[in-house]
């Protein structure tokens, strides 16, 4: 029998590890993932522990690895993500890895720096070239004009552009200076205005935009730049202009004085740019090479470093013994795994070549061990949702195996629709069949991961929804008529109740089950399809669904109570059986079990002929409480007496529930005080240590729960919950099912029916987008939204109504045992993969 029904037996063990082989032994243990280590040095600061230097070293290596991974990612090189599981490296290999990593880091940073410098150079040269080319145009215009129109020499002043004529300026004797450069396009207008204000017409600015976008080396974004040429007279102006240029972060380049100079510079620039391009290419190639080489081993190193760090963390938890030659560790180990633990230690000792082997010793303990429940890929999802509310205490009954079926079932009661169930089941089936596909497993999308982890849950939910859909007879809001309806319309005509005229004069007519032949028997599988066509469909369905909710709810809660009995028995709390379980059960069954009985009674006892005599169960139930005698005819003889009796029992069980256990424990404690010595003898007599520990735990519990509020609040809230349960069950199972059915119907009526009513020729085309809309809304609203809503409600029902009855509310925080095998997940979580 699997340990899924109850958490496993876990014992405390002491490991004696040789100093030399400690690292290897822990590595072996980590690979197996067997045990949980206890911290033996809780008072020691993290910085004063023994292996703090090694941890610092591994963190250093992690930093370098992070840098490498980022660079590799930037260069778009694929990492070989095989399912490798390298063992943690031995200390002597660690120095190798460290050296290699540091070398790689140096190389990489050097190459990257060079590359950046080269790119900056290239940018400057390119800008200079652009500038020269464009300013050439400024000046060339005039030179062209001079050469093209020689015949207008009699009007020399009109043709010559006085400002741009270098020679005329020289004749004037003024010092014409040029400043040229590049500025960002966004700033050019402000620049121009500033220039005008400051220099007041002693400068002339011409500018033109560069066609291509140059990459800004600081931000890496392409920016548009403008080439400008400022010509000015006088030195003072020149200085002012230079200051303004600085202010606007312009890139200034020397303006050539003559055309020959310009041509020389352009040639020189061109060759330099070509050279730079080649060098840059080579640098990039080299960088890629380095990264490629690194990428082969970076992934493995990452895992190895993480494992090493974890091992040192665990070594920090151990303490040295007196002789300083041996490390002592205390672990929680499942009893069934003790042989495996021994074997691992032997393996570790052998690997490190130690002369004295390490060994393990089981020791008794008073502390409550952690809860360990082994799950496989199917059960882990359900165990997770059970644990999310609270992990059960050690050796408590585990509600998870029952949740595997009851949770999807309750979800399906709220979701029931054949069509939607099929879609959900198919989606989950796809995820299950492709669960080993790496791409599906390793995405970083949180929401997808949540769905993927719960693929088995969704599959079960889908399958059960198909079944409940058949019973509710609801498939995309339409009913299936598989067996023929049980309601016969012709019988109403043949018995003369209806005629053709009644049809014409009334828009709605109700079938009467009292007339023979109208109702021929219940539909064999679920709800009769005729109700889908009826206008008073909801009156029937609401009554049915409410009663169904009550029945299912009571049964689920009673089941939870019964499971709690197993806990009481296991922990030898016989008094709990009588003082807690029995009153709870009586309270539940006397009131709500009786309600269920009345529901079923009313279904069976009253036929259509007696329909006017059938009492309302709700009113009868309320009357039962207020003990009203004249509430109409009883359903069966002796009803009044029985009801009074049941109410009395229920009312009496409440104080027993609230006060019984505390009073009993108080009385016990008082009595025990006188019997203290006797207890001592008992202890000596007990042979197995486990019994002692159990007994001690027993006494502890009794002692502490004397005046504690825990047990009383236990009972109190149980009772309160019992009385609130009706609200819960009515509201959730019924309401969600109703909401789903109504939404489905509305979607059909508003969307598909509109498309189906259109005339055939146009309708065929019209139906295509209509169906698309119908499909999208079905998936998004009915499947996703309603599905999540029903999921949450089913979850809450399980947590609050079911689990509270099974588990003690001493929610022990200690969880399952975890070790080194988290490495790949950790790498992924830190965004390095």
């Amino acid at each position: 029998m699997g340990s899924l029904f109850r958490s496993e037996e876990v014992c405390l063990a002491q490991l004696f590890l040789q100093s030399g082989s400690a690292y290897d032994c822990i590595s072996e243990l980590g690979e197996l993932g067997l045990v949980e280590f206890r911290d033996l040095n809780p008072s020691v600061n993290a910085f004063q522990r023994k292996f703090v230097n090694e941890i610092k070293r591994s963190e250093d290596m992690e930093r370098i690895l992070g840098y490498l991974l980022r660079e590799i990612k930037k260069a778009d090189i694929a990492l070989p993500e095989d399912e490798v599981n390298p063992v943690a490296p031995l200390p002597k290999h660690v120095m190798d890895i460290m050296e290699q990593l540091q070398r790689l880091e140096l190389e990489l940073s050097e190459v990257t720096r060079n590359k950046e410098k080269l790119q900056k150079n290239l940018l400057e040269l390119t800008e200079y070239t652009h500038m020269l080319r464009i300013t050439q145009n400024f000046v060339h215009r005039n030179a062209e004009r001079e050469s093209v129109q020689p015949q207008y020499e009699e009007f020399p002043f009109l043709e010559k552009d006085v400002v741009m004529d270098y020679s005329s300026m020289q004749r004037l004797g003024a010092k014409l200076g040029f400043i040229s450069g590049l500025i960002q396009r966004a700033k050019i207008e402000a620049f121009e205005r500033m220039l005008w204000r400051v220099c007041k017409g002693y400068t002339i600015l011409s500018y033109a935009e560069i066609d291509e976008c140059l990459q800004d080396p600081y931000t890496g974004e392409p920016t548009r730049s403008v080439v400008f040429l400022i010509s000015y007279w006088g030195d003072q102006i020149g200085q002012k202009v230079k200051k303004i240029c600085d202010c606007y972060h312009c890139h200034l380049y020397p303006y050539p004085n003559s055309n020959e100079e310009r041509a020389d510079v352009v040639d020189g620039l061109r060759t330099r740019i070509q050279d730079l391009h080649t060098v840059l290419h080579r640098t990039e190639d080299y960088l890629k090479q380095v990264l490629n080489k690194a990428s082969e081993s970076v992934y493995t190193w990452g895992i190895q470093v993480k494992k090493m760090k974890a091992i040192y963390h665990i070594l920090n938890l151990c303490s040295f013994d007196v002789t300083n030659k041996c490390l002592i560790a205390e672990v929680w180990c499942p009893v069934n795994d003790l042989p495996a633990l021994r074997r691992a230690l032997e393996e570790g000792s052998r690997k490190s070549g130690a002369t004295v082997p390490s060994f393990v010793n089981r020791i008794p303990s008073n502390d409550t061990p952690p809860t360990l429940i082994r799950t496989n890929k199917f059960t882990s999802g359900f165990q997770n949702i059970v644990d999310a509310y609270g992990v059960g205490s050690y050796r408590e009954v585990n509600p998870a195996p029952y949740t595997i079926i009851t949770f999807p079932f309750l979800f399906a009661v709220m979701f029931g629709d054949i069509g939607h169930g099929v879609i959900m089941a198919l989606f989950a089936l796809w995820m299950v069949l492709y669960e080993n596909d790496r791409k599906l497993k390793k995405t970083r999308n949180e929401i997808w991961n949540t769905f993927f982890e719960g693929r088995y849950i969704i599959l079960m939910m889908g399958i059960f929804s198909v079944y409940t859909g058949f019973i509710y007879n609801d498939c995309f809001s339409k009913s299936l008529n598989l067996f023929g309806s049980g309601w016969n319309v012709t019988a109403m005509f043949s018995h003369g109740l209806w005629k053709m005229e009644t049809l014409q004069s009334n828009s709605f007519l109700t079938l009467d089950p009292k007339v023979t032949g109208v109702f021929t028997g219940p539909y064999p599988l679920g709800i009769d399809p005729i109700w889908n066509l009826a206008s008073n469909r909801l009156s029937f369905l609401n009554s049915y669904k409410m009663k169904m909710s009550v029945i299912l709810g009571i049964i689920h809660m009673s089941f939870g109570l019964v499971l709690g009995v197993f806990n009481h028995l296991h922990f030898r709390r016989k008094y709990s059986l009588y003082l807690v379980f029995l009153p709870e059960l009586l309270f539940l069954l006397c009131l709500f079990g009786y309600l269920v009985f009345m529901i079923v009674c009313k279904w069976l006892a009253f036929t259509a002929l007696e329909s006017d005599k059938a009492p309302s169960i709700l009113i009868q139930f309320i009357n039962m409480f207020i003990m009203q005698k004249d509430s109409g005819e009883p359903i069966y003889t002796g009803q009044a007496g029985l009801q009074v009796f049941l109410v009395l029992i229920a009312v009496l069980s409440v104080p027993v529930l609230l006060l019984g256990k505390p009073l009993y424990l108080y009385w016990l404690h008082k009595g025990r005080n006188h019997m203290g010595m006797y207890r001592g003898y008992e202890r000596v007599r007990r042979s197995s240590e486990e019994e002692i520990s159990l007994m001690r735990a027993h006494d502890l519990e009794e002692g502490t729960s004397l005046d504690s509020h825990s047990s009383s609040s236990d009972g109190q809230s149980e009772e309160v919950k019992c009385s609130r349960l009706s609200a819960h069950w009515f509201a959730d199972l019924w309401a969600l099912s109703l909401a789903h059915a109504q939404l489905s119907e509305v979607l059909w009526a508003m969307v598909m029916r509109v498309g189906l009513r259109v005339d055939t020729r146009v309708g065929v085309l019209f139906l295509v987008p209509i169906f698309g809309l119908f499909a999208v809304l079905t998936v998004s609203i009915l499947l996703v939204m309603e599905g999540l809503s029903a999921f949450l409600h089913a979850l809450r029902l399980h947590w609050v109504e079911f689990q509270n009855k099974v588990l003690q509310r001493r929610r022990h925080q200690v969880l399952t045992i975890c070790l080194l095998l988290f490495c790949t997940q950790a790498l992924r979580v830190h965004g390095l993969l």
């Binding site: 029998m1 029952y402 009334n506 709605f508 089950p513 109208v518 219940p522 064999p524 008073n536 259509a608």
Partner: protein, 81 residues
């Protein structure tokens, strides 16, 4: 509209879920998961049978009938057996 005997569906479905919940668990192969699989089968049988039972008991003695529009009545008279 077909005549529906109550006994036939009752017998068939009860036997079916009895088979699923009582007989199939005997044939589950021994292994670490045997307990879980048996629990699943029994719980499925119980809950599904209960759900079906509630549905059919609720319709056994209807106290009122469906209210249909006259178009529907006309259609059903001629098209449903």
């Amino acid at each position: 509209m077909a005549e529906h005997n109550f006994a036939i569906p009752m017998a068939v479905i009860t036997l079916f879920w009895l088979f699923v919940g009582g007989v199939v668990p005997l044939f589950v192969p021994k292994g670490p998961n045997r307990g879980v699989i048996v629990t699943m089968l029994v719980l499925t049988a119980v809950s599904c049978y209960l759900f079906w039972l509630i549905a059919i008991l609720a319709q056994l003695n209807p106290l009122f009938g469906p209210a249909l529009s006259n178009d529907t009545i006309w259609y059903l008279q001629y098209h449903w057996p």
